[in-house]
Symmetry: C2
Subunit: 334 residues, 2 copies
Amino acid sequence: MNKPQITIKDIARALNVSPSTVSRALKNNPDISQETRDLIHAYAHEHNYKPNAQAVNLRAGRSNTIGVIVPQMVHHFFSCVLSGIEQASSEAGYNIIVAQSNESYEQEVKIVHSFLAARVCGVIASLAKETSHYEHYQELLENNIPIVFYDRICTGIKTERVVVDDYAGSFAAVEYMIQTGCKRIYFYGASPHLEITKNRRNGYLDAMKKYKIPVDDSMILLCDTRERAIAITPDLLESPERPDGFFAINDETAAGILYACKLVGLKVPDEVSICGFTNGVIAQSTDPKLTTVEQHGEEVGKSAFNILYEKLEGEEKSPNKIVRTNLVVRGTTK
Amino acid sequence: MNKPQITIKDIARALNVSPSTVSRALKNNPDISQETRDLIHAYAHEHNYKPNAQAVNLRAGRSNTIGVIVPQMVHHFFSCVLSGIEQASSEAGYNIIVAQSNESYEQEVKIVHSFLAARVCGVIASLAKETSHYEHYQELLENNIPIVFYDRICTGIKTERVVVDDYAGSFAAVEYMIQTGCKRIYFYGASPHLEITKNRRNGYLDAMKKYKIPVDDSMILLCDTRERAIAITPDLLESPERPDGFFAINDETAAGILYACKLVGLKVPDEVSICGFTNGVIAQSTDPKLTTVEQHGEEVGKSAFNILYEKLEGEEKSPNKIVRTNLVVRGTTK
């Protein structure tokens, strides 16, 4: 069904010249007569000849294709990152093969092997939540395929990385909540082994420490989805020592906390303050709108591509990049 | 920087055998002695040899890579479609090169040419809002590259397509609003030349007609973003013949209408009913939650891949596919 496109050999056969004549004519080599060049160009144009990018890259021993691993595609922040990578790579003339791990380690390993077989020239990746072994990424490096990690980075192997300033973002958010009157702020985080959880928790802990507010383990919880927030928050809100503030690792979780507050009849932000992390479409849609940390996903994606591009082009100047966050104050905080 | 991976020729040179011996040994051809086979397998394993997918595909005259065009990546429905395409293609052993048109005709043409150069074996696409010429897609067909359109389809050329049941989805939604008491329902649509706008508008018009409710041109507006909804809705709500219902072409616009109702102090759903189209994260985040038409984006993506796959594999049985919608009734309707 899918007939191959016309090749240099086809043109050579049709016009009864050698393939090398066709190749040189198409490059306007003056060794070939103007007449023959015109004839070959006309035939190539008429038959929709396109240089075969695969063949060109194969000769050069590399492709101009980058493999991109996204933990989940249906996710505002990752969509923004992917959009940033796509824009930057398209401008630079690179294609991107995109695959999602669906947070599965096994799927991530499979993707890396498919990228090796596709001979990608570089990889941009963010770890699946369950990934804690890195041999598959090591295998890419052993094949001289550079990797740039973004957001959920891998500290186990030596690669470039782009992170958002998780520590400063959460420090600023929690400090703002304390300054506007919160005294008992809970932290809802993702898997504790992820760097983003560690860094955001440290920002939270240091802000609490700065204002001499005691924190105990019961105030730090594993909760990174709307459903779980709705499941666990009402009991906390009805306990004697109820939270008067929540700092959540993403907007979806923050929206779940807001929903739970309404369920038990507590007013946001008068009685409970809530801050998320992302600043996606959810933050604009809740009532009141969410206070949140803007994560600049497109900038993360563009930076990741640019660092990889510099490595691929041999300009080894690229440092790791930290994308600054900023607090967007809306209606869920005082 | 990016050194080519080890090839059959490298192995042949290192072990002082011919490339064809290596090739046959790697395929466990019994013409090669067991000893030599073991030696070659051991060397290949040690040096991370991977068959070059590019070369294999080049020999077969085609790639196993599909080009996917998405109008916007940061968009719930398109993220879902992309996720569905990715899952189905990954299971079938195909890679996807993903590019976004950003709703630009010019960018869409550029993407099609980059897909031709990358020798994709097929294309899955949804039109940019501003696209109304289709020569670039015609060029793909002339190169025997099959196309499957999804959602924003192209009726100008003969290709397969996957659409959601826009007409039935909007008919059911508007009928529900009429049955729950709305008498003056406005339609907020996207560009009038898009098939999705035409079909959803027709569903709206036919539902109104069925219940003998008059519709005039002032009730059908071009409005498909939150910002525009917030800009144009308050005046309408304060006019003497104000709407008591809105059917919006996406959830983002519906959320903007809800915001506008709150601005002017009208109660939703008691005084104004609102229905969106998508059923993404926005619909869960508004207060009250949105009534909307579920669009089943992942199913659209999987169907688009499956139709393309059948064409590529020569099983020409694939019909066009209509993915059924269903109305999800929540808090913005009575």
